[in-house]
Symmetry: D2
Subunit: 409 residues, 4 copies
């Protein structure tokens, strides 16, 4: 990350652009932001609502305009109603209250791209999604959407957050490592990257910030870090750390601190939302499992046996349940066991983090930071440019950065 001077006044509005704009995480993020804006709910789950962040000059939610890309035909308010009924969360009165505002957001959601998309994703797509002639055409179309959003609403800056379904694994080694070569390969039609990368190229080229909340390839390429630096913008990822992996990043340091030897760490996850349906495809699942699995060994400094599974169980809806079984050796080789069961509503764990990431990234823009943002590591399973996966170290670094902002202000 590189820091430079920048003006600090957030007076013109700022845009939050969500890839997968009508999915569960996006819907909960939008709905939650509208409720927070009206003070209809306390800001529980929002990290940036805490006192440590009060003096950091973060943008208030009434200065935010939302738009996005989406490939499914749906109405945001209907998605929220369905979410309420399936998962037994929210008060229905809130939905009635916000119906018009939700429709207003909906009107700013544009068609995403299917260029490079897997068949599982194509299976969800509306017939109206434009068939882009090439990846490069797709990038240009997506870029125009972002530019139009910014110009039409006089936005000071736009932060793009990818909250779409997880893609199959992509081999990042197959991509050129400089932006010049990558751009040439894309423009020349020699490469067919997954949609997440096209969205990232479009966002960064347009000067937007780009946050990869998924484990998809997205901007996880050296060439795109270079592009961010060139365009004086910033990106971060990947894969929001919401539940089971958050627990891993909290408990593994305990084992390390106490010198207790983890023999095996088995984690089974079941859930039934749309993300789960896509992950039920073995190709897509591989990306997610990889992202969830490296952490324990990284923190401990040795490699215990690990098992990670994610199973699609439709009747669970958005309620992701994880059972983790940690078999460890204590003093004098005594085997002991810790098990935990996490029962959380997945999209509602993710949504406040999306809002936090938006606010912190927007602030980083005003602080003149470009490239990756390592201080955002506590939000991610696989933070770009950060090798320390201890949650509390990461959280400490975030607090330090926030404190440095407060001093400036």
């Amino acid at each position: 990350m590189t820091s430079s001077k920048s003006q600090d006044s957030p007076s013109p509005p700022v845009g939050l652009w969500l890839i997968g704009g009508r999915g569960g995480v996006a819907a909960c993020s939008i709905f939650g932001m509208l409720l927070l804006r009206r003070n209809a709910v306390p800001p529980v789950g929002l990290v940036t609502a805490q006192s440590a962040f009060h003096k950091a000059g973060l943008i208030p939610f009434d200065r935010v305009l939302i738009g996005g890309h989406e490939i499914r035909a749906a109405r945001l308010v209907d998605e929220i109603r369905a979410f309420h009924r399936t998962n037994r969360v929210f008060l229905p009165d809130w939905i009635d209250l916000l119906e018009a505002e939700l429709d207003d957001c909906d009107a700013r959601i544009r068609w995403g791209t299917l260029s490079g998309a897997s068949s599982a994703i194509r299976g969800l797509a509306a017939p109206d999604v434009p068939r882009d002639a090439s990846p490069w055409e797709a990038v240009r179309r997506l870029q125009q959407d972002l530019a139009a959003f910014q110009q039409e609403h006089g936005l000071r800056h736009v932060v793009v957050v990818n909250v779409a379904s997880t893609e199959p694994p992509a081999d990042s080694a197959a991509f050129p490592t400089s932006w010049e070569e990558l751009e040439k390969a894309l423009a020349g039609g020699e490469l067919s990257p997954p949609p997440s990368t096209l969205y990232a190229v479009a966002a960064l080229s347009e000067g937007c910030s780009y946050i990869n909340f998924t484990p998809s390839l997205g901007a996880s390429l050296p060439a795109l870090t270079e592009l961010a630096e060139i365009r004086r913008t910033r990106h971060m990822g990947c894969d929001g750390k919401t539940g089971e992996t958050l627990m891993k990043s909290v408990l593994a340091p305990m084992y390390r601190a106490r010198n207790l030897q983890v023999l095996s760490w088995v984690g089974h996850n079941i859930f039934g939302n749309l993300d789960g349906r896509i992950l039920d495809d073995p190709q897509h699942k591989a990306t997610k499992v990889r992202s969830k699995d490296h952490l324990v060994g990284d923190i401990l400094g040795y490699a215990p046996k690990t098992v990670v599974s994610i199973e699609y169980v439709e009747d669970m809806g958005d309620w992701k349940t994880a059972w983790d079984h940690i078999h460890f050796s204590g003093f004098l080789g005594t085997p002991m066991v810790l098990q935990f069961i996490w029962q959380g509503c997945d999209s509602l764990l993710a949504a406040p983090l999306v809002l936090d990431l938006f606010r912190l990234t927007e602030r980083a823009d005003r602080a003149g930071i470009s490239g990756t943002m390592p201080f955002l590591a506590p939000f991610f399973k696989s933070p770009y440019g950060v090798s320390d996966n201890d949650f509390f170290s990461q959280h400490g670094a975030l607090l330090d950065w926030v404190a440095s902002l407060s001093k400036d202000a």
Copy 2:
């Protein structure tokens, strides 16, 4: 804590004196130290065996002599054999190997005191335990045991660790706050403190360090901190943080960092060792529950509903099993649940911490520290003089202190 110059060479041997010297924790500590000394086991579970502690000049185990006080008639090696059979831990070959060395330790264990002891404790006592004429007589007898131990073996210093059964709650407000007055009240027979306090008075008066690994009153009195300062010695406590409470001190900061609101935290503990049998007495249990219960609210900064229970279930032996149910509110008031089940062999969780505390306290003596030792907070449920119960903050402070020692060395 106060720091002053001191010689750094540990060449004369050092004493470790265990109150409750034939109990489960003491037996496992002694047995483990003898095995570690022979490199018969890897130092799993020993915090001070990690590389961060290598340059801190900690005492090696072959320079340590063990003694103690005990009120039960038993043979240490038999206690270890029974522990092995009941709890299915250790290799039996180890016990055969160490039989003579264990008997050697046994020979240095002296009768403790029953002055001020509860009826539950008296029920365990051997008929031969001396009936001290007064608390003051008891202190003098205990003191003589410590002095004899030190002189006979030419010990540079003695660290006393209380690993005896938990006592009923004592009202520390009823005690004088200065050592002068407390000494006068004790000598005059006006006070009848519990045994743990008599052991602490004896140890500190004799210039020994005193570690309260239990939730008993012990040295948790301002007058005794003053005595430690007067005698240029040190003390710390209380209540070793081995399992369920360790988890609380790790997980509560996660809730705080993520601004998730804990609604209730229910913890049920079952176990069947001697400590459990004593805790089955409601008076004794009250002390333990109080020590386990304050932590969550302290860390969170608000007071969720908490329930803590400890039940004596004899067939569980030393295998303490805890079920914790944490009901929390996430984004938009969504109630979620985390549960954990901890299955650990309690005395074998405690034993390496006793050895760690001994080594670190002995080092603090050589570093010239007197009074309380806040850097030892990560080892305790209710650390003296420390209000921050976040495990990782505490552990960071310990590492900082150890790093400062390394710089000196």
Copy 3:
């Protein structure tokens, strides 16, 4: 139980009278019955909806009229709305749909009695609840309510079900064992039984059936079984078997069948509904714990260590969560562990059983059965007159009785 001839046509309506008529279980029972009557929900959880019961001539719900006694001031529809919001169950549309019908039921709920009530119960009571001059006066007033209900609506029969809060334990040995003596003692003002017994006396004297769904004393007296026989009516109880205890009655027979030796069975229950608030009073809790605890030993034929706790945790609402830890010895003395965690909405587990019991009891009336009804044992933790607590034996006996009815029909 005694059987005699009886007419079989259910054409005139039948009454269901609920003691605690606006409490959680009553509200869910009433609400559920109204929904079932409209076929708005499938009959999940209703035992008598299964094919084995189709030919037994059970009463359809459109022939049922509901009334009750209650000591709290509340509106049924408001209680259901609050239950919905607190516990995130039901569709709100259902409540709107049934508002008028619920108010109609409400209008048939009369003031219960506080004669003999504990202070915890008195604390809930509306100021308007009549202060009965004596227990006998209370019985007479309650009886008049039942008679008026029956006459006003031309009811063929009334089944009274006690779903009020659990009372403190009452010593049944202190009561006369014949109805003649009990009646004399009541009329003479020599006895002051708890309300549940007054309701039972009133119901049975009036010829109503009486079902004790709680662990309260109620009709658990030989003198009241005699009264039921005299009045050719019937009663059964006690304490509905809905969750954790149901599991015990299912799992303990597995241990018995496999000759695996249960060492200890620990069960902890947390919940936060009104019943829980009353149970938080140690006196009331004792009754419940006793009812939950005897079962395991009864089934196994020996007495393992058992622990049963019930804790009031308000934020859990009606979601009762139980953790059971079963430590057992297998082949060659190998200790093994089974744990289960039950997360159920308590009133919604109870409600269909109340409806089942009503239908089966009403059928027993037409079958001419008087006294206790052992075939209803699978519904109770402590079934009157039944010593076999194996759930499947009990369920088999129910199916046999139902099959015998089908043959008659």
Copy 4:
């Protein structure tokens, strides 16, 4: 099954022949039987030790001689010592006591066959295992071993029990359905069945009883039931019901009886014994998962979503841990959850059932029963010829059969 007259005196000794004779289940069965014979342990876990079986004329263990087939080079007593150390079960004194007797059994274990074996099994085999020229040659060799065992020791009857590792799935539809054709195909070298079937053919042809304790194909063929009838002998299987599936067969009937709708039943199993290492091969695992998975739907009469996984986690040793998550719908469509965690030592759960099956099968021989033995269904996940998977129905049928024997005796 067909029943005919038979003499009832068990005076000549009887043989128990174990396929996989030095594996974990065999070793625990043998070790346990030797301990039971000496009354060194109480018969916990042995179904046939209960009073209901006392008058059934079952064979006492001092009339039993053990032999077996095995493809690994090992010494039984060493396997038991390793089992003790790895799994922390047994008293080591017992092993010393029985060393000579175990060696004596060892001397009666012969080389099994690798004809038709998977590469995973071949990987375990000793170099000395004979390479049979054809399946038919293998059958003849195995048969000779059984005949020699019987003749040499004057055995009245031999019961063969397959406790070897699980084989990959075999398509039973590919085999001829009559014994005449199957024999011809085998003799003509047209078929290459898995080892389990060769053992079964050898056993049944020789007039031995054959019990398939594994999910392998074994005797699960109509042609082999015919062979059993022709030879007036008997067989039963398959797959011993020891832990998680036992729980399913106990809990699913509870859901059925209470008309609660199971939405999904997810079961994850982890363990680390040799059976687990073989099951880690995806082909072998498929057989096991299939056997564990059908039961819930069979009992409920509808098909909820199910997930079954078995993972090899070496450090768990023989301690199989299963987590089951049962999501069910209660009254008014309310979703609720039951979870259980089973922690059992797998081979020690299986071993007493092997001894029970041996005793009951030997008794069935004397009772003149031939063909399948449906009364043994409670011991199996997929009982031959039995469609009712309700554990208590099955156990009731066993008790009925045993009671009928007692009447005869």
